[in-house]
């Protein structure tokens, strides 16, 4: 048995090396943070196992040396020769003592450094981890479970051996093996959780495991400090400095239970640890674990498809002929990995926008105007121009008969035929975006800028939708284009002010027009009024003239009668009457001279009547 101990140590050491390398590879492959921590832990275990293996070898050699020495002493007769053994009689013991005095503490310090550094760097690394794919997760899960199994078997064996044979140097190895097994199991569980839809658990588990690693480091440094003050007694087997009691405890909770059971036995006075329940628990544990595994496999026989989803069912990778597509509801299938289902959100409306790159900031703007950019980046699309292309005669360079237009075309679509969608194209979503972009380009280069910016817009959106749909069908995409919007078509920001000026000019034209109409509106009624006045005046003239004529005719008839009675007298009377009336208010000078040669001077400046200027005001009294 003695012979075998250090061989066991060697096996454990090699096992830890192999498993830790494998665990690193698996963890890198599956992007598992917990796996990475586990492998780091196993690597530390490998170092510890190496040191303890060397110590075992040294102790073994020491024992061999002691045996040889005893043999030598027995065969020697009186023993005078070797009564006082020289200091260099036991080189192996000296080597062991040197090893324990210098190498072991130095290794403990190194171990502490490695534990601390490992905990620190891994903690930082965990944050940057990405989530694994399902397949990677599955592989990692299976391999970690295998590591756990192997480590557990060897660890358990070493632990029992260490206890039975009092092999203290096997204990640290057993501790690392068993706790490594536990870590592997936890990592596998974390992968299962990730597979079941809780990928963040992996990081949390990794952090917890790192916490354990940090605790071990703390324990290590405390043990180092206590080692300095420990009373050294001869004959007491020393605890290896690098052995962690914490690891031993965590890796073998059985030891704790046994201790507790023994304490209970002592308390109760009978052997609780031999009761049927305790025994049953010990025996049934393996069954329970196996049962759980079976339940896990069976649970993959059911699949629930959520509303709005569809799934593709594949048996050994081949679509199942009668049930290619699973609709919402509960479905039975063969367990993984025979049948696999791939879910797709077929009812979800997916959307993207052509022509711009969305910008968080402007997204919340309420007012969108042409002269300010609405998005992070707007791509100018080429648009045809009906204008005749002109040639610059001097340089011979032709101006390009195109216009540029910034567009913002949202497109919404839905998966219509899941089989076509999933099986024809590897990156169908990107293809839809590209072909829709292409169709918009194709459409814009064939229309005139003013047509599309004005009336043709609604029709254009419908045309575009149909063309994108046709192209998607031609490529067998299995999607339905639900909506294509052309609401964001506008001139590029650089020329937008000029476009606005045109609209301003149209408004101006309209205004000028309206002013002219106002001029017309006021002038015509006035003209009509004036016309009416003219006619009315004429009318009143007519009335006056005619009635005056009639009236004078009437009077004349009467005057004729009067005249007939006495023509001479009537005439004179009429004459005198008139003269008398007329002269009543008139200034009259009657010149009573018949002399034809005399000159009569009349001062006609005399006022006819007094008026207001002839009133003399009384002088103002001072």
């Amino acid at each position: 048995m003695e012979q075998n101990i250090h061989r066991k140590g060697l096996v454990n050491w090699l096992l830890l090396l192999a498993v830790s390398v494998a665990a690193v590879l698996v963890a890198r492959y599956a992007h598992s943070a917990a796996g990475l921590v586990t492998s780091a832990f196993l690597g530390l275990g490998f170092l510890v196992a190496a040191v303890s293996y060397f110590q075992m070898r040294l102790e073994h050699r020491e024992r061999m040396e002691q045996l040889e020495f005893d043999e030598l002493r027995r065969t020697a007769s009186s023993g005078t020769l070797f009564a006082e053994p020289a200091a260099d009689t036991f080189p192996a013991r000296r080597a062991r003592e040197q090893f324990e005095r210098f190498i072991v503490p130095a290794f403990s310090v190194l171990l502490f450094g490695l534990q601390t550094a490992g905990a620190y760097f891994l903690w930082r690394l965990v944050g940057e981890d990405e989530t694994p794919s399902v397949q990677q997760g599955t592989v990692a899960m299976a391999l970690n479970a295998l590591f756990a199994l192997v480590l557990f078997q060897f660890g358990k064996y070493s632990a029992v051996l260490a206890r039975l044979e009092r092999q203290r140097l096997l204990r640290p190895q057993a501790g690392y093996l068993l706790l490594g097994a536990l870590f592997c199991m936890i990592t596998a569980a974390a992968e299962v959780a990730g597979w079941a839809g809780y990928p963040h658990l992996d990081r949390i588990v990794a952090r917890v495991l790192l916490g354990v690693l940090a605790l071990v480091a703390v324990e290590n440094i405390l043990a180092l400090v206590f080692e300095i003050y420990r009373p050294r007694l001869k004959g007491v087997a020393e605890h290896p400095l690098y052995e962690s009691r914490l690891i031993g405890l965590l890796g073998q909770p059985g030891g704790l239970i046994t201790t507790a059971a023994q304490a209970l036995d002592y308390q109760f006075g009978f052997k609780v640890s031999e009761t049927w329940f305790y025994r049953f628990l010990e025996r049934a544990l393996a069954w329970l674990v196996l049962g759980q595994l079976i339940v896990l496999v069976l649970s993959t026989c059911f699949i629930v498809i959520q509303p709005g989803e569809q799934a593709l069912l594949e048996r050994f990778g081949q679509p199942v002929a009668s049930r290619k597509i699973l609709n919402p509801g509960l479905h039975l299938k063969w367990p993984w990995p025979i049948d696999k289902a791939f879910r797709y959100e077929t009812d979800r409306i997916q959307s993207f926008t052509i022509g711009i790159e969305h910008d968080e900031h402007t997204e919340h703007q309420r007012v969108l105007i042409w002269t300010k950019t609405h998005a992070k980046e707007e791509f100018d699309m080429l648009v045809a121009s009906r204008e005749q292309q002109t040639t610059n005669l001097v340089s011979g360079e032709q101006t390009v008969p195109v216009n540029l237009l910034a567009v913002n075309v949202p497109v919404q679509y839905q998966i219509r035929d899941l089989e076509a969608f999933a099986y024809h194209h590897a990156n169908a979503h990107e293809l839809i975006q590209r072909l829709a972009y292409g169709e918009v380009t194709h459409y814009l280069v064939s229309v005139d800028i003013d047509d599309i910016m004005a009336a043709g817009r609604l029709k254009a959106a419908d045309d575009l939708r149909r063309r994108i749909q046709a192209r998607a069908d031609a490529y067998g995409l299995g999607v339905r284009i639900l909506f294509v919007g052309l609401h964001g078509i506008h001139p590029p920001v650089k020329v937008a002010p000029d476009f606005e000026k045109v609209i301003g000019a149209i408004q101006d034209k309209e205004a000028t027009n309206l002013y002219a109409r106002a001029y017309m509106a006021t002038n015509l009624p006035v003209a009509r009024g004036m016309a009416a006045r003219t006619v009315n005046e004429a009318e009143s003239f007519r009335l006056r003239t005619v009635s005056a004529a009639i009236a004078s005719a009437e009077r004349f008839t009467n005057q004729l009668d009067a005249h007939a009675a006495s023509p001479e007298v009537y005439r004179l009377r009429a004459y005198l009457d008139t003269l008398g009336r007329a002269l009543g208010q008139t200034r009259a000078y009657v010149i009573a001279s018949t002399n034809q040669h005399g000159v009569v001077t009349l001062n006609l400046e005399d006022k006819l009547r007094k008026d207001i200027t002839d009133i003399t005001l009384p002088p103002a009294k001072n």
Binding site: A286, W287, V289, L290, F316, G317, Q318, P319, L382, A384, Q398, V400, N403, A422, H425, A426, L431, L435, G438, T441, V445, S446, R471, Y475, P492, V495, A505, I506, D508, T512, N513, A516, Y519, M520, N523, L524, A527, R528, A531, A532, T534, V535, A538, T545, V546, A549, A553, H563, R571, L572, Y575, T578, R581, A582, T586, A588, Y589, V590, I591, A592
Partner: protein, 299 residues
């Protein structure tokens, strides 16, 4: 150390699973697989399903996606037949036709395959665009546009090369975007501005012209109305004269008296206001001043 039978069973099951993992593999509907033995090609599996293999490291399985993959790389400047510069972006969809060739050429690296395809595509792009004038790309007249034909020509140019050299079938190809280089874009903006400016001027001119037309029309209609009214008034006045003249016939009975009476009327009218009359004594009744009547008794 005693082994519990259940532990043994569990161990065996796990071992069996791992053994199965080593010798079995599935090929999905979306995949094509190539099996190599010691690195040498053995077979291609292009039908989905369950397959057996020898464990690693004897045989290895290389899986490729057999669906159409599309990609676009460069938004690149090319020259048209009429020496115009345009930027063109073409997307391309390809799938693995011959998985063995694909594995041998690229070691199964899709990115590398796409880079090689990009090379062929650029060649085709330059070649095909160089054979077409700009008007094939941009035209307000849809019947002149040769977009589809250009895409077909590019596809026809790319397809055989890709199949022959890389075991890859180019399934689809489309122009995603065309544009102009920066310097030309600036010029286009200038032209667009000029065009808009012209429109502004046009609208301003149209506005002014329209206004003049409306105003003159207003003037015309006003004058028309006034003229009509004038004419009407003239007729009325004439009518009035005519009617008045009818009354004048009455005066024909004694024209001499009528003239006398009219004279009297006129005289009265003339003397009504602020006039000064200078008469001599021969004018009746002032003749009385010359020969004042003497009473008969005094004679």
């Amino acid at each position: 150390m005693k082994y519990h039978p259940v532990t043994l069973v569990t161990g065996l099951v796990v071992a069996a699973i791992f053994a199965a993992m080593l010798v079995c593999f599935q090929v999905r509907q979306t995949e094509v697989a190539v099996v190599t033995t010691f690195g040498r090609f053995s077979r291609t599996i292009d039908k989905p399903g369950f397959n057996l293999r020898l464990p690693w490291p004897i045989q290895s399985v290389h899986r490729f996606d057999n669906r159409v993959r599309n990609f676009e790389r460069k938004y690149e400047q090319v020259t048209t037949r009429d020496a115009r510069l345009i930027l063109i972006d073409v997307f391309l969809g390809w799938k693995i036709k011959d998985a063995r060739v694909f594995l041998e050429r690229f070691g199964g690296d899709q990115m590398m395959a796409e880079e090689r395809l990009e090379g062929i595509l650029r060649d085709a792009k330059n070649g095909v665009v160089g054979q077409h004038p700009l008007s094939d790309f941009i035209s307000p007249n849809p019947s002149e546009l040769r977009f589809d034909a250009i895409e077909k020509e590019m596809l026809a140019s790319v397809k055989p090369k890709a199949l022959e050299n890389y075991g890859v079938e180019v399934v689809l190809l489309g122009i995603k975007q065309i544009g102009l280089p920066q310097s030309i874009t600036e010029k286009v903006f200038e032209r667009m501005k000029a065009e808009r400016d012209q429109l502004v001027k046009q609208f301003q001119g149209e506005g002014a012209g329209e206004a003049i037309r409306i105003r003159s029309e207003a003037d015309l209609r006003r004058d028309q109305i006034l003229a009509e009214a004038e004419a009407k008034a003239t007729v009325i006045r004439g009518n009035a004269e005519q009617q008045a003249a009818r009354a004048l016939r009455t005066f024909e009975q004694n024209p001499e008296l009528a003239v006398f009476l009219l004279k009297l009327d006129a005289l009265e009218q003339a003397l009504k206001e602020r006039s000064t009359l200078v008469v001599d004594t021969r004018t009746p009744p002032f003749d009385l001043l010359r020969t004042p009547p003497t009473p008969a008794t005094s004679k």
